[in-house]
Amino acid sequence: MSSSPAELRRAPAPSGVAAVETTGLGKRFGRTWALRGIDLEIPAGEAVALLGPNGSGKSTLLRILATAARPTLGDVRVFGFPSRTDGDAIRRRVGLLSDRPPLYDELTALENLRFAGAMYALTVSDEALRAVLARVGLAQAAEARVRTFSQGMTQRLSLARAMLQGPDLVLLDEPYNALDAAGLRLVDEFLAGLKAAGRTVILATHHIAKGLAWCDRVIALGAGRIGFDGPTARFAAQASDAAGAWA
């Protein structure tokens, strides 16, 4: 999934600019604050593991960065583009793999990708899309309706869709979910490829081991606030210290 036509047409982001910059970010849903006081700066090309228990706000943060949700408070900039005014520029550069992927049950895998391609304003031939499906191990299922897919297959298709426009910032929300051994290897390969290509990756996962293995930096969320933000090595050391205290 290297240089796609989409990248060539995109206006270049201002150079030397952080991939993600948030100041005082807060998001409220009804009576609860999912995120509060989030100050982050993620330079381009970094791989960040976003850790935290359920309900800590990981998914919400990723969705806000993808501009699928509006922050209640604070500012968000992605590659220098403010989310309130330049949302479109952000959406051209971001790919989000979420737990509820935008797939349509009555369409086939190929048709779903065709739709995504049209929505991303890409000119991709069917052969290219089939190649993409082959990359995620769904070559045989290209003409099958998503309604018949297993969770693992849906996850693979979702990954293919999220990567279709060759985004600079890749947001993965529990990418290892529902995948078998082959699927897990697939995601690992993707991550390797993304890092090699210098993309910025934020990986939200319960799979702490995987997160620590792939990422240079760890951000841990607790009840909507940042509990830890630093290099993986330090996190691992602190975690083992804590574990040691309980032993």
Binding site: R28, F29, G30, R31, T32, W33, R36, T72, A223, G224
Partner: protein, 223 residues
């Protein structure tokens, strides 16, 4: 709070003005040549429309501004505007109906203006109902603003269509000659109702603001 003080001022003027205006309309002004004392209901009926229009217009403008600025206060004021508007809208319809009964013998005629205002009432009552079904204050404000804007913008075409619908068949009934004293009383009542609308809107706004702030404060995290 400037808006709340202005509101109280409006109220201070409106309430005695209401008393004065009612005296002028119900006692001082002469009865209508043809309809007699029944016609005096117009001193409440017509001014209701001034108040309705003012309130709905406030709601419309605040809704537009809310979508751009997203300040909760604009939502509170829009909500207040619709509620007060619905109140005066209903008053206008009821007084219109009461006036119609002895005049034309029926509780309801499909008079274009009456019909349009009935449709307006349904539209803005819909606004209030939709609000009741959304718990998240930000989503509620946004959805309500959109409902309010689209509803308001459609009023002219609703009026046009209903008027063509009714007047291609029958002639519009028009009010008879108006005595100058009646005009005085009517004008006083119109200004009074406008002030009354402002007063009620600011009170309702204050209530909405207090409720909204309490709602948002509940959500504030510890520390």
């Amino acid at each position: 709070m400037a808006i709340e003080r202005l509101g109280k001022l409006a109220g201070l003027v409106a309430l005695p003005a209401l008393a004065g205006g009612l005296y002028l309309g119900l006692v001082w002004a002469p009865p209508d040549a043809m309809m007699g004392d029944v016609q005096r209901i117009m001193y409440v009926h017509f001014p209701s429309w001034i108040a309705t229009g003012l309130a709905y217009l406030t709601a419309f403008v605040c809704s537009l501004l809310y979508l751009v600025r997203r300040t909760p206060r604009l939502d509170y004021l829009a909500h207040a505007g619709v509620e007060v508007g619905v109140l005066f809208n209903a008053t206008g319809l009821i007084t219109g109906s009461i006036w119609g009964r002895p005049t034309w013998g029926v509780w309801w005629t499909w008079d274009p203006r009456l019909t349009t205002t009935a449709i307006m009432l349904v539209m803005f009552a819909g606004y209030l109902i939709v609000r009741a079904f959304i718990e998240d204050p930000d989503a509620r404000a946004r959805v309500a603003a959109l409902v309010g804007i689209v509803g308001f913008v459609n009023v002219p075409i609703v009026y046009m269509s209903v008027r063509w619908w009714r007047t291609l068949h029958q002639v519009q009934s028009s009010p008879s000659t108006v005595h100058p004293d009646m005009v005085v009383a009517l004008r006083v009542m119109m200004v009074t109702f406008a002030l009354l609308a402002c007063y009620l809107m600011t009170r309702r706004y204050e209530l909405a603001r207090l409720e909204g702030e309490a709602e948002r404060a509940e959500a504030a995290p510890h520390g």
